[in-house]
């Protein structure tokens, strides 16, 4: 409003929308260009490739890229607040420890989990595939950006609190980490991505009747605290 020092509610909302638009435009072209151009290039390489190259290398790569695009689309929809891409179906008992181990095998690369303190019999209630996807985002984040990743779970009074912790520098912008399309400094300078992983993990946790909170760890690093119902 002209002459006013304090922005109006409408002006604040418009500024938030503009920030979100800038964040989306900042991450999306990079995240999409690589899989799209790689997909196109591999498709164009098919006529000159040997059958062995197609079977061993190109076909699996095309499948991976298609799956990557599917996951990206689902995650973006969830991060944008659409429930259409959230898992469907009733909540079922899902083991925590074996899910952590299985996901880490996929996302951890040659790194190892520094510590895992989870009762092998501990189970939580979540839609089929939901806990797996929550851990994909939480552990992928830990593997890429943190040091000495650890997972600890404690059951109490019908709830399970699962803490995924990494060491690292102080994170002054940690409050923004679950905001959609926001990428922290380490993320921006290290690898491509969309900045929706923690937003999606939080949406999945809330769908399961739980919660996800992210905060800076004492001494530096990140703690993601996931609370779910005990099965």
């Amino acid at each position: 409003m002209a002459g006013s020092e304090e922005p109006t509610e409408l002006e604040r909302k418009l500024a938030e929308v503009d920030q979100l638009r800038r964040r989306v435009l900042n991450v999306l072209p990079h995240a999409l260009r690589t899989p799209i151009t790689t997909f196109r290039g591999l498709a164009e390489a098919l006529p000159n490739a040997t059958e062995e190259q197609i079977r061993r290398d190109i076909a699996p790569a095309l499948r991976r890229l298609a799956a990557q695009a599917e996951h990206l689309l689902d995650d973006m929809l969830v991060a944008a607040g659409y429930t259409t891409a959230l898992p469907t179906g009733p909540k079922v008992a899902t083991p925590v420890a074996s899910t952590v181990v299985a996901v880490w095998a996929d996302v951890g690369g040659d790194r190892r989990l520094h510590q895992i303190e989870v009762d092998p019999n501990l189970q939580v209630k979540a839609a089929t595939g939901a806990l797996h996807k929550m851990f994909v985002h939480l552990l992928d984040n830990a593997a890429k950006y943190g040091q000495e990743p650890s997972v600890r779970a404690v059951a109490d009074n019908g709830k399970v609190t699962i803490e995924v912790k990494t060491k690292g520098p102080q994170l002054p912008d940690v409050g923004m980490f679950t905001e959609p399309f926001y990428r922290g400094e380490a993320a921006v300078t290290m690898t491509s991505g969309v900045g929706v992983g923690l937003t999606v993990a939080r949406a999945l946790a809330e769908q399961a009747g739980g919660s996800l909170e992210v905060r800076g760890a004492d001494g530096g690093g990140l703690v993601a605290e996931l609370v779910l119902e005990t099965a």
């Binding site: 072209p29 990079h30 260009r33 690589t34 899989p35 151009t37 790689t38 196109r40 290039g41 591999l42 164009e44 390489a45 000159n48 490739a49 190259q53 290398d57 190109i58 790569a61 991976r64 890229l65 890429k144 300078t189 290290m190 690898t191 491509s192």
Partner: protein
């Protein structure tokens, strides 16, 4: 000028991008992919071991970013051809590549321009 192939290292943290570049470059006469690196640290180490003529360098990689790796390579191997190959490039990246004298190409899936840039950067021209 000799008839030896242009020996190239491909550095990108995406395995499928490395696969594509390997497939595309192996189809180009006079070019040989001699190594692949998944991050900047590995790229520098491979250059020390394999002594290539040129390297294709992604700029956004874990452990050591492409820009940092390029600076190390520039000082350690001044004759090495370097081409920065990235999905998007803002003003900062364009300015840094200008400063380092490194050609910058956007990932496009098309190989001809990349091969030309590698040959020019390595100071060698072959067909």
């Amino acid at each position: 000028m000799t008839d030896a192939a242009l020996r190239v290292i491909v550095a990108d943290d995406e395995p499928d991008v490395r696969l594509l570049l390997r497939l595309q470059l192996q189809g180009v006469a006079g070019v040989e992919v001699v190594g692949e690196a998944g991050d900047g640290t590995q790229a520098v180490e491979l250059c020390r071991t394999l002594q290539p003529d040129a390297i294709v360098m992604d700029l956004l990689m874990p452990r050591m970013m492409g820009i940092e790796a390029i600076e190390k390579l520039r000082s350690e191997f001044p004759d090495l051809g370097v081409v920065a190959y990235t999905a998007t490039a803002g003003d900062f990246v364009r300015h840094e590549m200008d400063r380092l004298g490194v050609p910058l190409l956007l990932k496009s899936g098309e190989i001809g321009q990349l091969v030309d840039a590698l040959r020019a950067s390595a100071g060698r021209r072959r067909v």
